[in-house]
Symmetry: C2
Subunit: 238 residues, 2 copies
């Protein structure tokens, strides 16, 4: 009935020769995505960068969707702590979150892309396993551990997305005809909308800074709060 799930990771590989390989293709694709956004990643453009012909890539990948899976898994590898996971669960989650944030900031396209496909590659599984290791000391049912990890990951990705609207933003998730509007444009637009009086609570904020003054340290502040909330829950449970 249901056939075996085919993924790029359980399919046999083995480069026969030449500079063209799954790794070089994925690396080139990530370079292009980092430079010009995920929409700019096309088979032809990757081939040009590798001085190969478009159809040659299909000797190493099944189709473009698989390439995207490989790209995401590669950047998920950057979210994995290289060494041992600290024993203190808060410190462990803190380190994992910061690494995840760094990966997302370095590759802004991955945030939206990761929401479009299940993350089942070896490095994504490593990230999950490492996160589970971090909360292993906690005597919580699995259901709550999952909620903890989901919250931390989502807070992290959501924060990076938020950051991208700010002047400190590391990159743009937009592409195509309409580019990402600038911080100034968004700020001016929001002030105009708020001036209409339709959004009283937004207006109360607007006085200071409507795009909400994302400072580099705000991420850590919010993360500490989230961890504190988790800690409170853990203690009340025990």
């Amino acid at each position: 009935m249901s056939s075996q799930l085919q993924t790029p990771w359980n399919r046999s590989q083995e480069p026969r020769s030449s500079g063209l390989s799954r790794e070089t293709i994925v690396a080139a694709a990530i370079e292009i995505a980092d430079e010009d956004g995920i929409e700019a990643v096309s088979i032809r453009r990757i081939a040009t960068r590798l001085e190969a012909r478009p159809m040659s890539l299909y000797s190493h990948i099944e189709h473009k969707g698989e390439l995207v899976d490989l790209m995401i898994d590669e950047v998920m590898g950057e979210a994995v702590l290289p060494g041992e996971v600290p024993e203190d669960w808060r410190e462990a989650l803190r380190q994992i979150a910061h690494r995840t944030r760094d990966a997302a900031r370095a590759h802004p396209w991955m945030i939206a892309t990761a929401f479009r496909r299940p993350l089942l590659g070896p490095k994504a599984l490593r990230h999950v396993d490492q996160s589970l290791a971090a909360v292993a000391p906690l005597d919580l049912p699995f259901e709550r551990k999952r909620a903890v990890l989901l919250s931390v990951d989502m807070y992290t990705l959501g924060y990076v997305r938020w950051e991208m609207l700010s002047p400190h933003g590391a990159g743009s998730p937009c592409a195509g005809r309409d580019e990402m509007p600038s911080h100034e444009q968004i700020d001016a637009y929001l002030r105009e909308q708020v001036a209409g009086g339709e959004y009283p609570h937004l207006a109360a904020i607007a006085a200071s800074d409507l795009t909400l003054g994302v400072k580099p340290e705000s991420f850590a502040v919010g993360l500490e709060w989230l961890l504190a909330g988790i800690a409170a829950e853990v203690e009340s449970n025990s």
Copy 2:
């Protein structure tokens, strides 16, 4: 190129009222996205559905990116509470989160799409304003209020994305050549990977249900936990 003689009497009565408008275009695009995913939304396909010609749509929209913005803002409208926001902040956030979840489940494509563009439409702003209204009673600095709302929204979207991998999943975020793998396929694949011994903490879970038994009520459970964590933080702050 010969055609029937055109006279004022046999010419179509109302060529001007062809039902083409920004609203009908957006509605048709959302229908298509709900049916076949966001990638299936093309200018030509929308035109076919509306019995119009592709280029006619450009009288009502600037370009496709704008159409996507309009689509997202429309479904954000479904996340807005229709009536008054409850005074109790926890009940208010609970209701907002559940509505947001319903909207995301009804339009699974919106989760990834919302991460690709800033959400600045009137209904998105209404959602933010309503959320700010919910936490208005809390005596927290704006920085923390933002973290609260970010956490709740991200938890909600992250959970729905998670749900989509389960048998209860309402829809698929995938499209194109490779479709979303089934629950059974993912479960079997994960068991196989875990059996390799590379992911010990995942393995500890695997005994029960690797795709992690997403039950409809799990969302509410995790949300309550998150709200409890926030409440703990609020009290410790006051």
